[in-house]
Amino acid sequence: MIKVLFFARLQEELGKDNMELDTAGWTIDELKNWLEAEYNLDGVTQTMTAVNEEFTDGSHILASGDTVAFIPPVSGG
């Protein structure tokens, strides 16, 4: 299983902060496209992504046990 985390606007639009998905073997880009289509999640394809708390890119292939987080533009500080 893959754990997917949502924050900020994405979390509010989706109405939840995480999902468990059976998407091992998918790339990040494939996951994003699927989420955008399935949940009408605006702009997720343009969002930064972290896998297991490190930034990664759209070609990264997911493995079972990974935690994926979509990271809208940060605004801390």
Binding site: L5, F7, A8, R9, Q11, E12, D42, G43, T45, Q46, T47, M48, T49, A50, E53, F55, D57, G58, A69, I71, P72, P73, V74, S75, G76, G77
Partner: protein, 157 residues
């Protein structure tokens, strides 16, 4: 460097406590940056703010920034506390303290840290205006940013 040099908290930040972490007999300079909630941004009034974080990753990224500082300025010691949750005007959202033997390093490393926080630390600010709310930096109609690497955040700069 223990991990509590870089932490998130849902309680008011005590500046003096962050400073205490970096004080050393070999330091001649301590700089502090306190990012506070500003009431007006371009004539638009903020009522309050909410900070949300991907907590575990955020603390890890703060510690990574501490490592970057150590690489660039080996004689600097840094501590960062970032608050999450609901904040009122003038509340401290972040306190950064840096000590070093000489002052130039303490200023440079401190400014480096706040710039990096705004680039890579997964913390989000939600503004509560008189006419609604918005997540800062993520207004789809006007924000364009590349995927694949961290970007410049907005805020009190």
């Amino acid at each position: 460097m223990t991990s509590n040099y870089f932490e998130l908290t849902d309680q008011p930040i005590v500046t003096e406590a962050v400073i205490e972490k970096v004080k050393r007999r070999e330091a001649g300079a301590v700089t502090t940056f306190i990012g506070t909630v500003r009431e007006f941004t371009n004539d638009k009034r903020t009522l309050k703010l909410e900070y949300q974080a991907y907590q575990s990753m955020a603390e890890k990224k703060l510690a990574d920034i501490g490592d970057e500082v150590y690489e660039i300025w080996p004689d600097a010691v840094a501590a960062i506390t970032h608050r999450i949750g609901m904040l009122d005007i003038s509340d401290a959202a972040v306190v950064i303290a840096v000590s070093s033997p000489h002052r130039k390093t303490a200023y440079e490393a401190n400014e480096y840290i706040i710039n990096r926080i705004k680039e890579v630390v997964p913390i989000w600010k939600k503004e509560f205006w008189e006419d609604g709310t918005s997540w800062v930096g993520d207004q789809l109609e006007k924000t364009h940013y590349p995927t694949g690497e961290p970007w410049k955040g907005e805020g009190h700069d």
